[in-house]
């Protein structure tokens, strides 16, 4: 119990519960399975991005180019699928390969030239997105293949609501959860996962301990790229349109969600539970505001305040812990 109270995730969870109670007391439509399934579907692409960002943050870096990577991957996938046909598997494969390649390029620049990851990814965001916009002419693609359209509507199981409308758990959500489990296994049970934590905690120590920093950097940024590619396809599935300008600009929202979940920019810390709670908090806040009919232009004010409160709380607790550690030393 005491251990739970020291964890950031507990506070985020309590805030979520409080929010749910408030929203439900105002509008009963919020606390329904139908709304839950809808949220799980529409936030799956943000959730997948968030896992990639978490990996990068744990490793002590930062990546904000993933929205551009996702756009390039999704665009390539759409164009190839329309021109040469294919199926869902090839679609995901194309996007995954493109995403991984662009992620590797990020990693190579960061590793070989020792350029801070924030500057590298600010630059590559603009390079990837700039070139894509020139190549695509910024045109939206609506005429997606039928097999692609249908995949987005597949439900794992369906239920019927009181009004006779059917709803259910989308296959897209299942993909998201599968990735969560994969990420959890990597972080917790593999040497690579422990290496990512070690590298983020202290790069030199990790190197001395025998971790291959080059491989770990490559892994982290290409995993981010891979997930960005998959998230890009899912975004196209959700909106049934390939719009080149629909994702870029949202990178800081995803970063905010991960940070709300307790990951620190200093590296070495962060959990999947926290990240999922962070995404949930953002999803519930925005959904709840719509349901409570609060004008949408208040959205950023609330998100901004929540982020400032959350990062301030983390910083305050970190300082208190440091002070305690010093006190022990003096004794």
């Amino acid at each position: 119990m005491k251990k739970l109270l020291t964890r950031h995730e507990t506070y985020v969870f309590l805030v979520i519960i409080a929010l749910c109670v408030i929203i439900t007391s105002i509008t009963p439509r919020f606390f329904t399975l139908e709304n839950l399934f809808d949220l799980l579907r529409s936030y799956s692409f943000m959730g997948i991005f968030a896992i990639g960002v978490l990996f990068v943050l744990i490793s002590g870096g930062i990546d904000i180019s993933f929205t551009a990577v996702a756009t390039v991957a999704a665009y390539t996938m759409t164009v190839v699928s329309i021109k040469y046909g294919g199926n869902m598997l090839t679609a995901f494969l194309i996007a995954a390969v493109v995403g991984t390649a662009l992620g590797m390029l990020n990693a190579a620049i960061i590793y070989f030239f020792n350029i801070p990851s924030i500057i590298t990814t600010i630059a590559t965001l603009n390079i990837y997105y700039g070139i894509l916009t020139v190549v695509s002419g910024g045109k939206w693609i609506y005429s997606l293949p039928t097999w692609f359209r249908e995949f987005g509507e597949i439900k794992v199981f369906t239920l019927t609501s009181g009004e006779g409308l059917s709803y259910g758990l989308s296959l897209v959500t299942v993909i998201w959860f599968a990735i969560v489990i994969l990420a959890w296994v990597i972080l917790r049970y593999t040497i690579v996962g422990r290496g990512i934590y070690a590298m983020g905690g202290n790069l030199t120590s990790a190197q001395r301990a025998g971790f291959n920093i080059f491989f770990l950097q490559m892994f982290v940024y290409s995993f981010m790229g891979l997930l960005a590619g998959i998230a890009g396809v899912i975004q196209v599935l959700l909106v049934q349109t390939m719009a080149p300008n629909s994702m870029v600009g949202k990178e800081l929202d995803v970063l905010a969600a991960v940070v709300l979940g307790g990951a620190s920019l200093a590296g070495g810390t962060g959990t999947l539970t926290g990240t999922l709670l962070g995404v949930a908090l953002i999803a519930i806040m925005s959904n709840g505001m719509t349901m409570m009919r609060i004008p949408s232009f208040w959205y950023n004010v609330f998100i901004g305040l929540t982020i400032i409160a959350s990062v301030s709380l983390s910083a305050y607790r970190r300082r208190r812990e440091k002070r305690r550690a010093i006190a022990v030393e003096v004794e």
């Binding site: 030239f113 020792n114 590298t120 700039g130 020139v134 800081l252 950023n300 982020i307 990062v311 910083a315």
Partner: protein, 333 residues
């Protein structure tokens, strides 16, 4: 010989930058032909540079302390909106010159007050609460953008009174007004950084905050002042922005964020803090302006231009890393 060597090394970065500037100038001149060398082209460059220039100064001073300020654009937009709201509400076309002049003055003061408060908020979060600069300014960026949208409901506020437009578009003795403001801002920043204890402390915090603290410097106060100056500069940039656009909106100038980082880094400001000069930044801004005007005259798409900026940013960082490696090798042998 030794002193000469030292001087050469001290200014080697500046000399390289000036050579790059000349090369960019010649290249764009060759590609564009006579159109590039016309007086009108230079004048429009002189009108375009100051906005980005002042925002880059706001970015650079935080980078010197090993920080970053992601909120400068959001802060400039919010400040601009506050000023534009006051101006469009209280300046009546039938009012006398003196009355409207007073209101314009008050609007500018209110705007600067807002930007100063934003700077203090950032400073408080970073210096006192000890939040990392990226996260603190990410939070304030989203918050300020939120306030800007709430105040405008997402619309453009336009139709500013005539006199304010002089600030962004007027000429004094043939020199564009924004350029005069920029020169004053850059001069003041150089003065603060090179001639005052605050400037010395800013560089020291960027190099080694712990050593700086044990040298008896109040780190928190220095950081607070740094972000206060950064906020004020984005406020000054806002005055020029609303005057040049003749309007204010929540999402103007979003691509400037990349450009301010690029200009600072190109000008020799280290992202790890502690190094960087105003003169380098000014030359870097001139290079960027020459390239951007040149590409624009050539009819290159704005998106491709942005991609080229990204590429230049990486190239500059690569060159910096490689020269640093060569230098350390030389020192050890």
């Amino acid at each position: 010989m030794v002193t000469e060597d030292k001087v050469l090394r001290k200014y080697s970065e500046t000399i390289i930058l000036i050579l790059v500037m000349l090369a960019a100038f010649l290249l764009m001149g060759l590609l564009n032909g006579r159109g590039f060398f016309q007086f009108g082209n230079f004048q429009s460059m002189a009108f375009q540079l100051p906005e980005l220039g002042i925002l880059s100064l706001a970015m650079m001073i935080t980078m010197l302390t090993a920080g970053i300020n992601l909120s400068i654009i959001a802060s400039a937009n919010l400040t601009g909106i506050v000023m534009a709201l006051i101006l469009t509400h209280y300046v009546k076309p039938e009012a006398s010159g003196l009355a409207s002049g007073l209101i314009i003055f008050l609007a500018v003061c209110a705007g600067l007050l807002v930007s100063a408060l934003i700077g203090l908020l950032n400073g408080f979060l970073i210096a006192t609460v000890d939040v990392s600069p990226i996260l603190a300014t990410l939070g304030t960026m989203i918050l300020l953008n939120g306030f800007a949208i709430v105040l405008t409901k997402g619309y453009v506020i336009s139709g500013l009174p005539q006199p304010i437009r002089f600030i962004g578009n007027g000429l004094v003795l043939g020199i564009p007004m924004p350029m005069i403001i920029f020169i004053l801002c850059a001069g003041f920043m150089a003065l603060v950084l090179n001639q005052t204890p605050l400037g010395v402390n800013i560089y020291m915090i960027g190099s080694n905050p712990v050593a700086c603290y044990f040298a008896g410097v109040n780190n928190a106060r220095v950081l607070l002042k740094t972000y206060l100056i950064s906020g004020l500069y984005s406020g000054i940039a806002a005055i020029i922005m609303i005057s040049r656009f003749n309007s204010a909106k929540a999402d103007y100038g979003e691509s400037y964020l990349l450009m301010t980082v690029l200009a600072s880094v190109l000008g020799g400001t280290s992202a790890a803090g502690g190094f960087g000069r105003v003169s380098g930044l000014v030359i870097a801004l001139i290079i960027l302006q020459i390239v951007s005007s040149g590409l624009n005259l050539l009819g290159v798409s704005a998106f491709l231009t942005i991609a080229i900026w990204g590429l230049i940013l990486i190239l500059v960082m690569v060159v910096n890393t490689l020269t640093a490696r060569v230098q350390t090798k030389r020192q050890t042998t």
